[in-house]
Point group: C2
Chain length 331, copies 2
DNA sequence: TTGTAAGCGTTATCAC
DNA sequence: GTGATAACGCTTACAA
C-alpha cells in the first residue's frame, strides 16, 4: 500500500511549484491552460488527488455532517436516511451516522462532533433536552445544529418537521366524520416532544369535537412487539362497550403491532370493531395484510430545507411542512 | 461562535510548552502530575479539547470508517447499522454512511474515502465487481476494504457473512421433510453474488433430494411491492396443479410482499396451498399477521469479526458464521 | 500568471 | 520530564 502522492511530488514532475498544482485543482483559479495541462498530466501519472484532510485543516471546513440517531427500530428511518445522504452527497457533504445510546450520549457525541470540526449536526428524531447544552464540558463554538422530524426544544436550534397540528386536525376530522367517538392514543416510551405534540393535538381536536376523553396507552419501546404488548394489555382489561373504537398510534410500527394483536389475539374486525391509525406511512403499512391508514411526512421538502440551511442557501429557522393523509382500510 | 482553543493557548495559560499540553492529553506519556494538573486546569478554563482533524493529519489515521450501502429498502439494514455503529463507536471509530447510487458510484465513493483517509471501508451488502477496482482513477493505496453480509468477489477483500450453504441446507432439509416437492425461488433484480449464492445452494440441495426443477421468479427491486408484483405475475399464469408449493424468497421483504399477494389476491392458504420462506428475520416477519419462516443472520458475530479485523485485533480473512433457522407458520 | 512565506493544530523525534 | 525542531499536506495571503 503505497502512500498517496502529494502536491509537492506532482509539482516536481510537472516542473512547477506546488502552489501551481493547487491552482490546477482549484476551480476558477488563475492559471494558464498550459500549466494546468502539465499539472493534470503529472497528477494522473502519479495518481494524485488532493488530501481532503489537509484541506479541511487549512480551511476549517470538513464537508462532513453528523447525523444523530437514537432509535433504529422504526423502519421509516431508512428511507429518510437514504434521501438525506443522497442530497447531502449531491452537495459534496458526507454523512457521519452517530448512534446515540447509553454509552455514547448527546454530550459525548457533540464534543466529538466539535473536535472533528463537522460542518453541522442533525438531530434526527433524537430526544434532546435544552439542559444538555448547558453541560459545562460543551462550551461555545459547537457546529450549527438542526432538529429533523421533530420539534426543537432548544432556542436557536431550528427544527425542520412535519406540521403536526395540521396533520392531526386532518386525521381527527376524518375520524370524527367516519363516526368514531371513543378515541385512544398510543405513545412510545419516550415522553418527549414529538409524542407529546401529537398526543396534545390529537386530544385537542377531539375536544373541539366535543369528545373529552382520550384513552392513553404507552408502549415500552418503539417496536411492533411493544405496540402489540401495549394493545394486549389494554384490550384484555377494557370492557367491549366502553373500549376505544379508534386507536391512533404515534407511529406505524406501533400501529402494526397493535393491529395484529387486535385481529389475531382478540379476533376484532378492523376497522369495524377497532380502527387503527399510524404515522409515517412506512412501506409495509401499505401492503394488503395491513392497509394501514397513516400520515406521510413531507420528507423530500424537509430534507431540501435542512440541506439548504446547512449549505447556507437558505435561512436557518424553524419551519414545518404539510404532510399527506393516507387513507386506507384500517380506519 | 468563538473558535476552539488550541494547545498553544492552553500552554500559555498553564505556563508550559505546548508539547507538555499534548502530553497531558496523551495516555501514558511521561509527565509529572504537577504539570498535568496545571495543564488540565488551564484546559478546562479555556474549554480546550484536542483537534482531531489536526491529529488525523499528523497520525495518518482518522478513526472514521466508511460504510457503503446501496439498498435502503430492506428494513434489516437498520438493526445491523445500529449494532455496527455502536461497536465501532465503542472502539473510538465513527461511521460515515455513504449512499451508493447512480450519481455516486463505488469509484466515486472510493476515491473520496481515500482522499479523506478513512481507516477502512465496509461494503455492506453492495453490489461491487472486481473490475471496478481496476478503474485507473483508483490507483493503489486505498483504505482496507471489507465486505459485510455477502460474499466477496474480490481477491484480497475479505468477506464476513452468514454461512449461506449451511443456511440453505437447513432450510431445504426442513422443507423437504415437511413434504414440499415443488420449490420456487424469488430473487431481487441484482443478479449478483448473494442472490446467486442463495439460489445456487437452494437448487443444489433440492437436487440432492431428487428435485431437479426449481422455478425462478425475479422481482424488479428489493421491496415488498416488487415482491408482490413478481408473485402476482407468477400466480396469475401458473396452473394450480403444477404451481410451486413452497416459495423461498431472497429476503424477508420480498417474502412479505409475496405472502400478501398469495393470501389477498389469490386467496391461497399459507402454508397449506403455498408456503413462503424469507431470509433475514426482520421484526415484522415475526408478527402474527405474517408468522414468516425465515433465517436469522448471525449479525453480532459478523460485526464482532469485522470490527476486530478493522482494529487489527483479528486477522483479516474471509469468514462465515452459522445463522439460525426461524421456524414459524408460513412454511 | 506564478512563486514565496506563513499558518492550520497536531504528532514524532531528538536534545537537554 | 520538558522544550525545541521538523513534519503532516494543504490554503491564504502577498510579492514578483
Amino acid at each position: 500500500m503505497r502512500k498517496r502522492a502529494t502536491a509537492r511530488e506532482v509539482a516536481e514532475v510537472a516542473g512547477v511549484s506546488k502552489w501551481t498544482v493547487i491552482r490546477a485543482f482549484t476551480p476558477g483559479a488563475s492559471i494558464t491552460d498550459a500549466s494546468r495541462q502539465k499539472v493534470l498530466q503529472a497528477a494522473e501519472a502519479l495518481n494524485y488527488s488532493p488530501n481532503l484532510l489537509a484541506r479541511s485543516l487549512a480551511t476549517n471546513t470538513t464537508h462532513q455532517v453528523a447525523v444523530f440517531v437514537d432509535d433504529f427500530a422504526n423502519p421509516h428511518k431508512l428511507p429518510v436516511l437514504e434521501m438525506l445522504t443522497e442530497r447531502l452527497q449531491a452537495e459534496g457533504l458526507l454523512t457521519v451516522l452517530i448512534n446515540i445510546n447509553r454509552n455514547f450520549d448527546h454530550v459525548h457525541a457533540l464534543i466529538n462532533a466539535d473536535q472533528r470540526q463537522f460542518d453541522a449536526v442533525i438531530l434526527f428524531g433524537t430526544a434532546f433536552r435544552e439542559e444538555t447544552l448547558g453541560d459545562r464540558r460543551l462550551g461555545p463554538g459547537l457546529p450549527p445544529m438542526f432538529v429533523l422530524a421533530r420539534d426543537s426544544q432548544i432556542p436557536g436550534v431550528p427544527a425542520i418537521a412535519c406540521d403536526t397540528e395540521l396533520a392531526l386536525s386532518e386525521i381527527v376530522e376524518y375520524l370524527f366524520n367516519k363516526g368514531y367517538r371513543r378515541p385512544g392514543f398510543m405513545m412510545g416510551a419516550r415522553t418527549l416532544s414529538t409524542a407529546l405534540g401529537r398526543r396534545h393535538h390529537y386530544a385537542n381536536f377531539w375536544r373541539q369535537k366535543g369528545v373529552e376523553n382520550v384513552v392513553e396507552l404507552t408502549a415500552e419501546r418503539y417496536s411492533a412487539q411493544a405496540g402489540a404488548e401495549a394493545a394486549r394489555i389494554y384490550l384484555s382489561s377494557a370492557a367491549p362497550r366502553s373500549r376505544v373504537d379508534v386507536l391512533m398510534c404515534e407511529n406505524d410500527i406501533l400501529a402494526l403491532g397493535a393491529l395484529d394483536v387486535a385481529r389475531s389475539d382478540f379476533a376484532l374486525a378492523v376497522p369495524q370493531e377497532l380502527a387503527v391509525v399510524g404515522f409515517d406511512n412506512i412501506e409495509l403499512g401499505g401492503v394488503p395484510a395491513y392497509g394501514l391508514t397513516s400520515y406521510e411526512q413531507p420528507t423530500d421538502k424537509m430534507i431540501d430545507a435542512i440541506v439548504g440551511m446547512i449549505t447556507g442557501e437558505r435561512a436557518s429557522e424553524t419551519i414545518v411542512f404539510p404532510g399527506r393523509f393516507i387513507r386506507r382500510l384500517s380506519a
